[in-house]
């Protein structure tokens, strides 16, 4: 799978020469930097250099004003040329600051850059122990000795180029998935876009208006959905689910199953079949706010426009087969499995609206409480294509409600249901919907019961203010219960206004629950197929919350949108764009460079316990059918977590091996130090 192309940088040394160096005794050059007064002001650099001279294998020990300057670097280079130094130790600043400078210098002289050992005597010693010079001297000596000990056994680490497959897979065709797929395709990368549902567009297509500008989401997203569906480089698969994923960064093999639509692609979307279908069911896409047939199209603008047959509920009367003018309906279609090779994977599986059924005091989904709905249902009711003609009507009797109460933080900021996090978008959409209702029905009282109103960002505070001005009532308090008068069927929301400390009973014709965003159904199996970690809330975990929020725990697998955590549309789009750029980089370049700083396994010691695999976060250890582990050198992230779990010490990270670390530990523990 990996293609070895030798070292990336051409070095002056031929192979024979480098072998010669290996067989040689270690010859170590130690260079102590004054760094002006930064180091020399506290540490007696001359004494440290003298001490270094007494250490075994040290052939040269010098001190110089500025090691990072041109003459300083030249000193290092000259020692390699003149004295045959094959390992260098520079005692100066941190590895991040000038470690690379010296590593590059010795690489130019034909040594492997991993033969350089940087000792930090400035940040770790002189700068922090300015008042205790004796102790600082002693410490500097010990640190240099530790560095020399470590350098003695340093091994060469190869840098390899690994070719990447120029194709990408995007899982989920919601707004984030579409954005990511489109961005990558525009960079010239073939994209396989797979979607679990029969249509693309995700949650955004269901919304009525988007905050804060009250724009029509269907109008915003349709250029993108059409663009993706017609893009020559994007292959779109709906009704498809991932079955298996193998490989690592740059070279994945993905198997996915495509469920049949039972309607062929020549469907003209005329709707004859649905018209004649005798089976009627509540539409899932419409959150049960309208009915659909057993052969249906989720919504008028759905892409792909091809109808789909719901096999589970179909009574096989064959009416649709007979009425179809183009004979597109075919009950004999079979599930198809497809295997593709890709270089990067973007997971944009989105979110699910929290199901408030488990919060018993709110009686959601219970008999007699039909007028308790969620925000997404309200969005469907308000949308232009709804059954109610965009009117807000009580599901129980179809009347326009006189009192609407919205309850915030349903399923979020709630330890009892296990969701500590704030979804972050509920305040915004509740305010938006409250304003829309108030504008439509000025006589209707709209109340929002909140814990805290959180409207950060440009234009959101203005939205909040405008809702207050228009007369939306805000009550600070989490409602304890929704009670129903058994005779009149009237609902009341029990809440304490915590600002005025008054217990209230709010009359409610319609109660709208602002339900949280939770990880989508089926994320567990998908996560384990991808070998990526999940956060404690159940979302897929990002590599680093600040510095890399789009990379997952595994190299080459990126996260886009709400699968990483609750996000609104603009955040999802930005997140997806970032994921697309990161995922595309190695594919556009054509290869990845990888330092082979990986563990090696001593198979004589290995007892096939498989513990190394259990701790390996990037899933870089493969175990074959005989139980023998092997390291996937591309996937490995060089953390070394596999080392301490190995009961026999068979697996050892190169340059961090137990015996290499031991040498350093002896010096810093005082075991080898010479005390004055």
């Amino acid at each position: 799978m990996t293609i070895k192309e030798g070292k990336v940088k051409k070095t002056d040394t031929t192979e024979e020469e480098s072998k010669e160096i290996d067989s040689e005794e270690p010859r170590i050059g130690v260079f102590v930097c004054h760094c002006g007064h930064n180091i020399a002001g506290t540490v007696d650099v001359a004494k440290v250099a003298d001490y270094a001279k007494t250490l075994p294998n040290v052939v040269k020990a010098e001190h110089y004003m500025f090691m990072c300057s041109k003459p300083g670097v030249q000193m290092v280079k000259d020692s390699i040329k003149e004295l045959g130094v094959n390992r260098t130790v520079v005692a100066s600043c941190s590895k991040n600051q000038h470690g690379k400078t010296f590593a590059r210098a010795i690489e130019e002289m034909g040594l492997n850059k991993h033969r350089h050992q940087q000792v930090n005597v400035r940040e770790y010693c002189s700068w922090v122990h300015q008042k205790e010079k004796d102790k600082a001297n002693q410490k500097a000596k010990q640190l240099v000795e530790a560095g020399v000990n470590r350098a003695r056994k340093l091994e060469d680490v190869e840098t390899r180029k690994v070719k990447t497959t120029k194709a990408a897979l995007v899982i989920g065709a919601g707004i984030a998935g579409l954005r990511a797929a489109h961005d990558m395709a525009e960079l010239g990368i073939p994209v396989y876009l797979i979607e679990r549902e029969s249509t693309i567009g995700g949650h955004m297509t269901r919304l009525n208006k988007t905050f804060p500008t009250l724009e029509c989401p269907q109008c915003s997203i349709s250029p993108l959905t059409n663009g993706v569906a017609n893009h020559p480089l994007i292959e779109l698969y709906t009704n498809a689910q991932v079955k298996n994923i193998d490989g690592s960064l740059g070279n994945f093999e993905v198997e996915f199953e495509i469920k049949p639509r039972y309607v062929k692609d020549n469907c003209t979307s005329c709707g004859e079949c649905a018209e004649h279908c005798p089976v009627e069911l509540p539409s899932e896409w419409d959150m049960g706010m309208s009915m659909r047939k057993a052969i249906y199209k989720a919504y008028p603008q759905a892409i792909p426009a091809t109808y789909v047959r719901d096999k589970k509920n179909c009574i096989e009367c064959n009416t649709c087969v007979n009425v179809c003018p183009v004979q597109a309906v075919d009950f004999s279609m079979q599930p198809e499995t497809k295997t593709v090779k890709v270089g990067s994977i973007i997971v944009a599986a989105g979110y699910d609206e929290y199901d408030p059924t488990e919060i018993e005091p709110y009686h959601y989904n219970q008999e007699g409480y039909e007028d308790v709905i969620t925000q997404l249902k309200l969005e469907r009711m308000l949308s232009p294509t709804s059954l109610t003609n965009s009117e807000v009507l009580r599901p129980s009797d179809g009347k326009i409600p006189k009192n609407v109460v919205m309850i915030q933080c349903v399923g979020s900021r709630n330890d009892q249901v296990g969701n500590q996090y704030c979804t972050g978008v509920c305040c915004k959409f509740a305010i938006k919907n409250a304003r829309i209702i108030k504008e439509m029905y000025p006589d209707t009282d709209v109340t929002i019961c909140y814990i805290d109103i959180r409207t950060p960002g440009l234009n959101f505070e203005e939205l909040y203010k405008s809702a207050q001005e228009i007369g939306v009532r805000f009550i600070r308090g989490r409602p304890s219960e929704i009670v129903r008068n058994p005779i009149s069927g009237e609902l009341r929301v029990i809440v304490e206004d915590t600002l005025s400390q008054t217990p209230l009973q709010l009359k409610a014709d319609l109660v709208v629950l602002s339900a949280a965003m939770v990880p989508p159904e089926g994320i567990g199996p998908l996560g384990s197929k991808l070998h990526v970690l999940r956060s404690k809330e159940g979302f897929l975990k990002e590599f680093h919350i600040k510095m890399n929020p789009t990379l997952s725990s595994k190299g080459g697998i990126f996260l886009a949108g709400a699968i990483q955590g609750p996000k609104d549309i603009s955040e999802s789009v930005a997140h997806a764009g970032s994921a697309a750029a990161l995922a595309a980089a190695p594919l556009v370049k054509g290869y990845i460079e990888k330092e082979m700083l990986i563990p090696t396994i001593n198979y004589d010691l290995c007892v096939k316990c498989g513990l190394c695999k259990t701790v390996c976060a990037p899933a870089a250890i493969d175990i074959d059918e005989n139980g023998i582990p092997s390291v996937n050198e591309v996937a490995c992230k060089s953390c070394g977590m596999c080392m301490p779990v190995c009961p026999t010490g068979a697996i050892q990270l190169i340059n961090f091996k137990d015996d290499q670390l031991l040498d350093e530990i002896i010096a810093v523990s005082g075991g080898g130090a010479v005390c004055e």
Binding site: K95, N120, Q130, P644, I665, V668
Partner: protein, 150 residues
């Protein structure tokens, strides 16, 4: 335990080598930040760079203690911020078990500790270092297990 009075400073004076394994990410980062800000701490602290604290096992810890280290500590990234995912948690778990073992063997469990730090804040590293020395001092004073020569 000895009867004579021991002053903290005297004990601190005797602490010479405290081996601190710091991870390549937040550990090293915070120590560097502390250095740049010239935040003084005990010179007994000896920092060893490792890839991740999850890499440190009982072997390394016992190597350090048997070679004369007064105490050993691992400093990793904050919980949930490990750059390799959960190395800090693994290490924390391992050190918890080792502490238990130390107690059962009759030693103070303050010889080994796990800490976290933030690369952006040198105070976190310095706080960790101070805590290591303080805990060790208290342990020596109360239990008199090492360098008990008054």
């Amino acid at each position: 335990m000895s009867d004579c009075e021991v002053i903290d400073e005297e004990i601190k004076e005797k602490i010479q080598n405290v081996v601190v394994f710091m991870c390549n990410e937040c550990g090293q980062g915070s120590a560097n930040t502390a250095g740049v800000a010239r935040m003084a701490y005990e010179p007994a602290i000896r920092i060893v760079r490792v890839q991740c604290t999850g890499q440190i096992g009982p072997i390394q810890i016992m190597d350090a203690l048997s070679n004369g280290a007064d105490a050993v500590a691992c400093v990793g990234c904050c919980i949930g911020a490990c750059h390799f995912f959960n190395g800090n948690l693994l290490s924390m778990h391992r050190i918890k078990l080792m502490k238990k073992l130390f107690k059962e063997l009759g030693y103070s469990d303050q010889f080994i500790n796990q800490y976290t730090s933030r690369a952006a804040e040198g105070e976190t590293a310095v706080g960790d270092f101070e805590d290591i020395v303080d805990r060790l001092t208290t342990a020596i004073k109360e239990e008199g297990t090492i360098k008990d020569e008054c």
